[in-house]
């Protein structure tokens, strides 16, 4: 009897954890997009007041954000400093592809990040700031949608996990 009870608890717990892991994807997506917006704010400040070079700006963002987004910027900075003749967009795309899993973004958000690579280091300061403002607008829209998705799915997946676990236990009993 005790073994059955232990088994039932284990199944329910595992199913609950599975539900939580899926719901955390929605939570993390919101977090990533918020961090991307923050990184663009840092970028704007750095080029507006410091006129720092792009690799330096990326390093500075990487140091400030201890998350996959920070790693994405640090990785791109490393590729740029290797001076192999690749553009900032190439370096960004390469890092993005390598970090796709860790970023936990959906297809639409990932495409947006790919587009983000095309704005780095293009045009004069005015052009650059205009492009950043446009990207911020797109990210804000994506963030709004991601928040709605989270509202819808976060709790649902957690309960679904718990209930799924319970259903399996009932069926097995």
């Amino acid at each position: 009897m005790i073994v059955k009870l232990m088994g039932a608890i284990l199944i329910v717990f595992t199913a609950y954890c599975y539900g939580c892991s899926i719901s955390s994807v929605y939570k993390n997506r919101v977090k990533r997009l918020e961090e991307l917006l923050l990184s663009l704010e840092i970028f704007k400040a750095e080029i507006n007041y410091g006129l720092s070079m792009l690799p330096e700006v990326f390093l500075s963002i990487g140091k400030k954000l201890h998350s996959p987004i920070g790693s994405l910027f640090r990785k791109s900075e490393i590729y740029m400093n290797k001076q192999e003749g690749f553009s900032a967009a190439d370096c960004w795309l390469k890092s993005l592809t390598e970090m796709r899993k860790e970023l936990e973004l959906d297809e639409e958000q990932f495409t947006l990040l790919k587009k983000m690579g095309l704005i780095w280091g293009k045009g004069d300061k005015g052009d650059q700031l205009r492009q950043v403002a446009l990207m911020q607008e797109l990210l804000r829209q994506a963030l709004k949608e991601a928040r709605e998705e989270r509202e819808k799915n976060e709790k649902m997946w957690r309960y679904l996990g718990l209930l799924g676990g319970c259903t399996i236990v009932i069926l097995l009993l």
Binding site: M53, L54, G85, A88
Partner: protein
Amino acid sequence: MGQGVTKYVSLSLLRWVVLKLFNRHHSIIRDIGLFLPPRIRCLVQKLPAEFLEKTQELRLRHSRPLMLHWSDGEACLGHCGVVEKAKDAYIIRGEDLEKTLELISNHSLYAFEEELRQGYITLPGGHRVGLAGKTVVEKGTIKIISNISGLNIRFARQVKGTGERVLPFLVDRLSGRLYHTLIISPPQGGKTTMLRDLARLISDGSGILVQGKKVGIVDERSEIAGSFRGVPQLEVGMRSDVLDACPKAEGIMLMLRSLSPQVIVTDELGREADVEAVTEAMHCGVTVISSVHGSNLEELCRRPVLEKLLKNSYFERLVFLSSARGPGTLESIVEGERGLPLFSSHSKGE
């Protein structure tokens, strides 16, 4: 035994010469190569040493062949190295120019607005990239060069020792004072190389000048010291201060006020304000060494801005250079006030 030693010495000497040449050219190509997209980098790196040795410029023009230029010639560059016909050469695409510009600006074009306005960007190592494209004009002055259609990468090569021949004529042997000097030559005649070497020799102290002097270099176009982010990339001497990318007139006055130079070195006098600042420096007891474009004195006197300087004999020594036997050929040195020739390449039978 004797033969063995001779053979060993000559082989060592040959090895040293080969290494020196190899390293020099390869370090230039290494420097420049970092700023070229992989396709063009590959073509340039395959070039034989004989071309690398003399190449002064690498030209990238939209929809036209990739070209190399040197003082008395040029060549097109293709996948098989130097090619004879332009149609076999590598044709530059818009994408090549865009990528090169991005690499030159370290992916940060926004940080190079001033350079884009001036029309050139200096690279580490002192190499300079001239820009051609569409100029955006605002209130009568160039705001920026956009839609870049051509890049001219000029290789910076420091030729040490060019000033050694000239320096003894520029020093008063009794007092040890340096004369105000103007270096004159047509474009690509070696003026800047001569100025740089004189600055180095005067600053470090050499030959007739046992004690070095404090030298202030006002380097408006970053050509003398080849500064990158304010740090000189070429040797200009241990007692030299460099004001990089600074307008000459303002730079000279700033030097006088705050850096107490004994000698001011600046290139290409051309504006009224430059001439005023130079005469101000001369009256402050500072020696001025400068340069102008021209081939002879009569030609220079016809330029209204320089007329005052030359007619009043502000410059005590005039050094004429040409590229008759390669850039930096010393033609003559003339005493400024009376026009007496102190040196002439013709009288020396050169």
